[in-house]
Amino acid sequence: MTILGIGTSALTAFRRSIDTISNNIANVNTPGYSRQTTSLVAREPQFVGVGFVGRGVEVASIERVFNEFLTQQVRTASSSTARFDTLAAFAGRVDDLLADPAGGLSPALSAFYGAVQDFAADPASPSRDALFAETGNLVSRFRALDQRLNDIANESQQALGQTVAEINQLSSSIARLNRQIVEAGRFNSANDLLDQRDSLIRQLAEKVDVTVVLEAQGNVNIFIGNGQSLVVNTENFDLALQEDEFNPTTTEVVYVGLNGATSIEGLLTGGELGAVLEFQQTVLEPAQRDLGAAAVAFTTLINAQNAQGLNAQGELGADIFTVGAPRVSGSNLNAGTATASVTLEDVGQTENVEYRLLYDGVDYRLFELGNDTEVALTGSGTIADPFVADGLSIVMSGTPVAGDRYSIEPTIGAVGLLELVQRDGRAFAAAGPTRAEAAIGNLSNTSIDNGTVVDATNADLLSPALIAFTSDTSYTVDGGAPIAYTAGDPLVVNGVQYELDGTPVAGDQFQISRNTNAEGDNRNARLLGQTQSTEILRDGTISVSQSYSELVGRVGSQTGQAQSGALAQSIVLQSAENRLLAESGVNLDQEAAELIRYQQAYQAAAQVITVGSTLFDTLLAATRR
């Protein structure tokens, strides 16, 4: 009886082992599958007076080969890899956008200034219309770039939504698996469920950085941000997208916990979600601000210079462009009625940040978001004496309540409202505003130049004037009070500065007149051309085109860093995975060898039963009469 019992136990145990091996072979390509092994133990022996006789073999347990530490490493590496991959992918979009040698801002700016130079070389010719066409091209280029950046912003926002949905799904699946695993019980280790849960946790870690805590009864608790629980026992909590506090057209990520929705966006790092947020804050928005600042700087330069000359109709040049004003919005949580209106006085002084204006109950205070630096405000916030800081001029109206907050984006919306407001090339001012002439009857041979504008806002800029020398050292303007003249000094009349060449004597007169019919005058056109190298941005240290090439360089190096980070992390991930697979992965050769081993053992056990049966037959035959 014993021999058959032993043989049967062996057959059952080996059969179980072969099943496990088959399962291993079947799951050779299943991601996240851990190799399982059967532990065989000898059955409790039987005491037969002289000693113990074994009673066969039994399967003690079927365990997965698992290493918590290596799993943790793979999870962390997956999270980093996903972060860098996502960041590289999004930054690469901006990189590609700026890469195109024909499509970027640079060639359009060059073409515009080329047209200005042609215009200056011959203002009377059709170069005026060519310049107008190039101006249109430049405006479209600005807007196309801004539009593409907005598209990328929308895509990144959609990616956020999708990632949030995936996170919610993963956390609810993990919560469900928690229940199943706990129900399966500690002693009855549910290997495949555990593998499945580990796999889901890894996927979750690819979405966002998580902290995983394994509890004694077999469930895991998962936390994000600075301790918000995503999965606790068999419960899970959701992330959601909610209308942004400052901007109803965009959304922010919130955590829907037991106490309702709270903002969590600033606390989320790592994974795809962290990467998208990081991309928005460090690549996309700075690029949008830089492009906006370039547009504001460029239009300011051209409009201001155009106002200093006479256009084709002989009038002072009007604005060629309009550009979007700073974007200001109060928080939807503000309790007070105060509103802020902000104008950008000097684009060169603003930083590439979002500003936050805060009312602390006594004073308004201005902060740079991101680095949380406070910016000192001067003035009192009234129209007559606005708050001034970083090139911004802020006027407050209404009654604030402590804690009221406002977001100020100086340049991010500038390009969206960039318009060419003139209809044709006649609007460009090529000629200087006035010209001057020495009177024919002058006794000295003193000549006068045609003047340089020093104050374009002078109301009498275009008024004619007569400079009459009353002595060698004094002159009058239009018969007014005598003004002292020092040889070599320029004369400033109605906002224009004139240089004399020679030694004027009493009686000499110089007539200043409006520069009518000056089709050939290119003085202002040349000055328009010189704005190409005017260093207006970043506290007057770089020109518009330099700021664009800096932007290209910055996005390029951000993308490059993300790409090399992704490459480095993929190698880290690869080696962590290899180490984990070295323990937990299936090796078919090994399984084949095991298969052979158990097959042979099974055959041997079967032989044991045959022998048992033969023994029994022998006994029967011996007792047969």
Binding site: G92, N515, I596
Partner: protein, 399 residues
């Protein structure tokens, strides 16, 4: 000994294929475009410098265009001024010819005829148009004909504007000169003072101002030489105060406020000659005036003296005009050579920039192609080993 699972072998192979394929496709893209930098992330610093270099190249090319425009306009101005010089020299010869004692009123009439033609020729030169049909010498008002003949004389309608062309980032040259600085704003006489006979003179005195260099002590006042008898004269100032008196001697020049005046012929008592600060005039008026005088001249000694006085005045004016045109020509010549030098400099700078641009941007084909070859070999090797190792399984022997 480390265990190796089938999945890690497979994954490792897959990653190797991916990496090699990506690298081969990047190299292909580089080789196809000839550019080392496909997107800024390939070389952020290079990409940013590339933009700045490209802009510099475009600007230099623009300066070259401006420079050649300036060159052609200055060449046109130079040609026009050379023609004007020739015309003025011809006028000078004609006036000298008219001064010859053998001329009769009839022959002087012929000379006057040719001088009239010269006025027209000079007017045409002064109203030259450029390639785009604008007037070369009207200052800013290129659509305005600079010189017109009116009842009151010749009039300059332009202004003193001068167009500058940018031929390098720091250099601008004027591409023309205002017409009045060339053809008008002429100081008659010697440029400082003019000596004219009193139109009421009855004698045959002819005055010639011989001082050509400026007299620095001159106080811009008018003076008069008055003959109290055919042999005695007073020099009086504008207030009528007698400054000096003298005895007339054709061999000795009369000194008036530092200027030397040679008198020939026989002045009568009561005749006078005025010395005044040079009035402004223009070249056309100078020539027209002498043409008119020659045309109306008679053969009487009084008329001769009047003609000779006018010839002296005209010669002074013509010399001033020649001087003025020459001064401008010299400036134009200087500008032309400056522009040509700048064109050379710009071309050199452009070459250097293009070379730096190529260094940053252009692909090293030799390097890229040998890299491509080695990557292709690596991919082939990886593929072969993959097939080999995949067939290595104990199961192959389980029959």
């Amino acid at each position: 000994m480390t265990r190796v699972s089938d999945q890690s072998i497979f994954n490792a192979n897959l990653r190797a294929f991916d990496r090699l394929r990506t690298s081969i496709s990047d190299l292909q893209e580089q080789i196809a475009t000839g550019r080392r930098i496909q997107r800024p992330s390939d070389d952020p610093v290079g990409a940013s410098r590339l933009l700045e270099f490209r802009e510099s190249v475009t600007r230099i090319q623009q300066f070259q265009r401006n420079a050649s425009l300036a060159e052609s306009r200055l060449q046109l101005e130079e040609d026009t001024l050379r023609d004007a010089t020739n015309a003025l020299q011809r006028v000078r010869e004609l006036v000298l010819q008219a001064a010859n004692a053998s001329q009769s009123s009839e022959t002087r009439g012929f000379i006057a005829e040719e001088l009239n033609q010269s006025v027209e020729a000079l007017l045409t030169l002064a109203n030259t148009r450029d390639a785009t049909d604008g007037f070369l010498f009207s200052g800013f008002q290129s659509g305005q004909q600079p010189f017109t003949r009116t009842v009151a004389g010749f009039q300059y309608n332009g202004d003193q504007g001068q167009r500058f062309l940018q031929i390098s980032s720091s250099r601008q040259v004027p591409d023309s000169d205002p017409g009045d600085a060339i053809f008008a704003r002429l100081r008659e006489g010697n440029g400082q003072v003019l000596v004219t006979p009193n139109p009421a003179n009855t004698g045959t005195g002819v005055a010639l101002l011989t001082t050509t260099s400026p007299v620095t002590s001159y106080n811009l006042q008018s003076y008069r030489v008055e003959f109290t008898s055919p042999t005695d004269y007073d020099v009086v100032d504008s207030g009528g105060v007698v400054l000096t008196t003298g005895v007339f001697d054709p061999e000795t020049a009369i000194d008036v406020a530092g200027f030397q005046i040679e008198l020939s012929g026989n002045p009568s008592a009561g005749d006078s000659f005025d010395l005044q600060p040079s009035p402004n005039t223009d070249v056309f008026s100078v020539v027209q005036r002498i043409a008119d005088v020659l045309e109306d001249s008679a053969d009487s000694p009084g008329s001769r003296a009047e003609v000779d006085n006018e010839i002296n005045r005209a010669l002074g004016g013509i010399d001033q005009a020649l001087n003025q045109v020459l001064t401008v020509r010299t400036k134009v010549g200087t500008r032309l050579s400056a522009v040509e030098a700048q064109i050379d400099t710009n071309a050199g700078t452009e070459l250097v920039l293009q070379r730096s641009l190529a260094e940053i941007e252009d692909l090293d084909y030799a390097e890229a192609i040998s890299l491509l070859a080695s990557q292709t070999t690596a991919l082939e090797a990886a593929q072969q080993t993959f097939v080999r190792t995949q067939s290595l399984s104990l199961f192959n022997f389980l029959r």
